[in-house]
Symmetry: C2
Subunit: 373 residues, 2 copies
């Protein structure tokens, strides 16, 4: 019997992945680049237990039993059955790449449990495309690759988490009541129906990827922000150009984007970047020195709901008074449009965690915490 | 002394104009196609008075005095000064191409007053681009032209107002509190910054224009709706791809689009088309036979504000009970998200109106109705 527990990070793409060239193997239509977020604030945690006593593979996700498909694929090659339990330490409500962190953690933990060496990103990719980018820290590039079998569609680190230590991230969790279009189906429909997506993947992203790597290398925040913002809007434009359209940003999302543009304009230089995934939540990038004023201004324009006692979570920070600029403050909006903010930074890849009380499974291989069905 | 009064229609583009190849002459980057709406429900009305007694050109728009620039341009060529008074019979709140109808009416009325013959569309175009499409009835094509002086960038009728008599139009006036990005500045920024717009104007619109003309010729509503919807979303995608982004649709706009897709899906064929201009209001196209059920369903999903006593205005119509389809009714939304609906149809171009009481100016050449400044 052996038990391992690992944690894996969330990643946020600054050059977006949208569209597959192979649905089965999850091979993307373009390269993408992401920042790995610190596991201190947000992570997936997975415990894998291998035992000769187990009669079949079992999987628990966020406290609920699930069909053990992913683990089941291993069964021809391994002697013993496996129990897997996985949780995110952040609410699913945050809607932020939880599946990427979860799959990365699953693959990483199974590899640790079975002693698998070598590239894991092409395995993680086949669970959830962007999961491959969560297998390393810092800034990560997922290469689209060109081989039909996808062997060269792997993720690799561009710069490690110490390259740009001032970089900070604010996750703005937005109130939303709408029914979601899943990113998987939206993406597939975009490939089938969007004329603009073809142009994006062939003509826009290749140059932008090069420019992004250069901006990261030079630590040119102004350029980094411009590219990040443009690529987010380009992706959502292609989603909107889909038939029927896939709409992920809502009025609050657009109000946040507008806030960022006004803030940057008033500073005469880009101080904040925004990016949106397949949901309404915003991810802002900014430098450590700018966090206090940006948070102060944000709270003035988007007042927290009066009942929300911890509006800013994660890394501790002073809030400075908001910038005095009337143009910036179109609003304030009604309170609670942003539910809360997670303050975090760029961090490292997955890792094994040690200790007797870190595991999610007890000695019998059953979850310590289960949500009744 | 002579006095003429004319009315001119609103037009709604089904292939959108977005982007100029020449700012000065207002020459577009692509052809566009519009439907001219009946003047029975919505029109601009203009009275032009020419008199040897006038000492200078004067202009009143919607009850307010304005600088008489457009009229002023005539002063080198004409002997007498002119007074112009113009009004829309629909609230500016509708935000629907009021400037197009207004400019078309101004140009048409001045032409009548001075006895000018020949193509007026290239003159109207230089006031407000899409105004040139309001100078004819039915379905109108504005050709981008290729000449540097813009002489061949003119509007021409594709099909007259009797070609497809079953076609109906619902203008959905949407509640909106946001600050607007003007279409002129949004359009210019798109040309400067959107990579996707280049692709749209060069590769997408030319084929779609051909397909639209064919769908109109065949009176193929299913295809007409698909092309209309796709082109609206393509335009808004390019607006979103602009840096900074130009966002015109809001959550209610997207909810209306979603309603249309659900309705069409439940029917197994496109029964309704939507299109959005540079604002949140929706314009729906549909056939006469489908109006009662669509209106019934719309009112169930988007309940009117309790104080709104005339939710559906314009052409009289029975409402049928809403379609019984649970999937359709995501909602209902909170009441009042759609303020009211104007029910109208495709109509004819501008015309002179006769009678002693039609004029907006009195015998002294002053407006009968003036809003105090």
């Amino acid at each position: 019997m052996s038990m391992v527990t690992c944690i894996a990070p969330v990643n946020i793409a600054v050059i977006k992945y949208w569209g597959k060239r192979n649905e089965e193997l999850i091979l993307p239509l373009n390269d993408s680049i992401s920042a790995t977020l610190s596991t201190e604030q947000m992570h997936a945690k997975t415990t894998v237990m291998v035992s000769s006593n187990f009669t079949k593979d079992k999987l628990w996700l966020n406290g609920k039993k699930r069909a053990a498909e992913a683990a089941g694929q291993q069964s021809e090659f391994v002697k013993y059955r496996v129990h897997v339990c996985s949780e995110n330490n952040f609410p699913t409500a945050a809607g932020l790449a939880s599946s990427a962190a979860g799959y990365a953690c699953l693959v990483y933990s199974l590899a640790k449990a079975y002693g698998v060496e070598g590239d894991l990103t092409s395995i993680a990719r086949q669970g959830s495309g962007s999961a491959c980018r969560s297998l390393d820290g810092g800034f990560v590039r997922w290469r689209m690759g060109s081989k039909a079998d996808g062997k060269d569609s792997i993720a690799e680190q561009l710069f490690d988490e110490d390259h740009w230590p001032e970089m900070r991230v604010l996750i703005l969790v937005v109130n939303d009541a709408r029914k979601k279009v899943s990113s998987t189906s939206g993406m597939q429909l975009s490939v089938e129906t969007s004329d603009l997506l073809k142009h994006r993947v062939e003509n826009v992203v290749p140059q932008r990827t090069k420019d992004m790597i250069e901006a990261l290398k030079q630590k040119d925040f102004h350029k980094f922000a411009e590219l990040t913002i443009k690529d987010s809007n380009s992706f959502h434009a292609c989603a909107l150009d889909t038939y029927p359209p896939a709409v992920y940003m809502n009025d609050t999302s657009h109000a946040i984007a507008d806030f960022v543009h006004r803030y940057n304009k008033s500073k005469g230089v880009n101080k904040v970047a925004y990016t949106f995934d397949a949901g309404p939540n915003a991810c802002l990038f900014l430098l450590e020195a700018d966090v206090p004023e940006v948070l102060g201004s944000l709270e003035l324009v988007f007042p927290p709901h009066p009942k929300e006692k911890s509006f800013v979570r994660g890394l501790p920070v002073r809030r400075l008074p908001a910038m005095q600029d009337a143009e910036l403050f179109q609003g304030p909006h009604e309170s609670g449009r942003i539910k809360y903010v997670i303050h975090t930074k760029v961090g490292s890849g997955p890792r094994l965690v040690k200790g007797s009380d870190v595991h999610l499974l007890n000695d019998e291989g059953l979850p310590k915490n289960v949500i009744p069905q």
